[in-house]
Amino acid sequence: MAGAEVTEVAVVGGGPAGLSAALAARQAGAKVIVVDENAAPGGQLRKQIHKFFGSKEHHAGRRGFRIAEELVAACREQGVELWTDTLAYGIFDHTLGIVRGGTASTLAARSIVLATGASENALAFPGCTLPGVMGAGAAQTFINLHRVLPGRRALIVGAGNVGLIITYQLLQAGAEVLGVVEAAPRIGGYAVHAAKIRRAGVPIYTRHTVLNAAGHGELEEVTIAALDENGWPIAGSERTFAIDLLCLAVGLTPLTELAWQAGCLFEYCGPLGGHVPLHSEDMETTVPGLFVAGDMAGVEEASTALEEGRLAGLAAAAYAGYRSPNLEEEKAAARERLQALRSGPFGEGRYLAHEEIVRRWLKWRDAR
């Protein structure tokens, strides 16, 4: 076929999971190509300007965009091919349909790692389609990547880590943030992130919801209200803010399109953000030779994405015939670090969820 390319390991997605997988597979000796639809590799790390949690292995204490730079540099140094502006438009057995330089072609690989990340959830309320209402990640892209403020006076929906971080970053970029609206009775994100924005004077309205957004042609005001025990708005508690930016930070969903197309088996898993492909401890799906890593295998954090990527990369290389000399030790170490990242009150739910996904994968394998 015209324009068809072949590699040993193909990785879809150049974020933390994908780059980490590529690096691990390359170090094991495989020829690796990473395809990424964006103009530059690094994924969401590129717009993260805060310092990361985790440990030294996860570049903790480094700012996200710097971690991206380091990973990309390491990949280049090791000879990983990074194909940016390249869309994986479909997967057909062990072949990716790609669009590169305005032309469709294929990229066949012995093994494939899908590391396509997650997408922001939408929220529906009257006025939610007005210009000025956007995903929190969208606002983050504009301010940190493109250096443009999409609004001057903002309100944030969602007090998870994403909402709290965006609030802080909007302040850093010079916007005013009038508050964070959270439907739950408590803040979902880390206390330290909440503390940062509280110190900066941003109130967090827990047990509140957005009633509507309004404006002539674009967002001008948003009305919120307190919620009662049953989650219904309390009459008389309405409060209206004159703003021009409403950021929605109401969770992420694993971006699993390609895994569905490939015929992977899935399981719905609330703590991981939705349907996730069943996968083994090595991150192999129910399609032999197809691996997953990062948010698309269950929404977590960049640090876990790096470790999952490493596991998937090692296993994908082994599948392609390149066993790292210390394969089992390396995998064991990565799993141990993953388990540590998934301990504590925030991580435990995700730990159990992943255990369950792996258990289901084993059940599938045994039934075969």
Binding site: A60, L341, P345
Partner: protein, 137 residues
């Protein structure tokens, strides 16, 4: 601890994070295994160097120095414009509430800063455990 700055760690949750432990040249902060354990400070070994303040991804570490009836509170600061030494600013508490005017006595960066400034305010000793930042300029 009278007369020398000591770190105050306000990290209330078990989250997977240990750069403070790694940053401390004195080994005064311990997290260990698993990584989600909360940091413990050995105040006797703390020299108040501020490396942990700048390294903490949660901006949850402060320095407090108490002497006679005054105190100096150091906090991480990542906004523009930066205050200048000698400026009088509004000190704020954990909820961002104003706690009165305070003089800026130091604005510096350390090895672990990468953009994070350490701002030190002189405040009344009674407010040393209240003041945790300043109103943005």
């Amino acid at each position: 601890m009278e007369g020398r700055p000591v770190a105050v760690i306000e990290c209330p949750e078990e989250i997977p994070c240990n750069p403070c432990e790694t940053a401390c040249p004195q080994g005064a902060i311990q997290i260990g295994n698993p990584i989600t354990r909360r940091p413990r400070l050995d105040a006797a070994r703390c020299t108040g160097c501020g490396l942990c303040v700048a390294a903490c991804p949660g901006l949850a570490i402060f320095l407090v120095k108490e002497e006679a009836d005054t105190a100096e509170v150091t906090f991480p600061y990542e906004f523009l414009p930066l205050p200048q030494v000698g400026d009088v600013v509004t000190a704020v508490g954990r909820e961002g509430q104003p706690l009165g005017a305070a003089r800026v006595v130091a604005v510096r960066q350390v090895r672990t800063s990468d953009g994070t400034w350490l701002v030190t305010l002189a405040v009344p000793r009674a407010l040393s455990s209240e003041v945790r930042g300043m109103r943005r300029l």
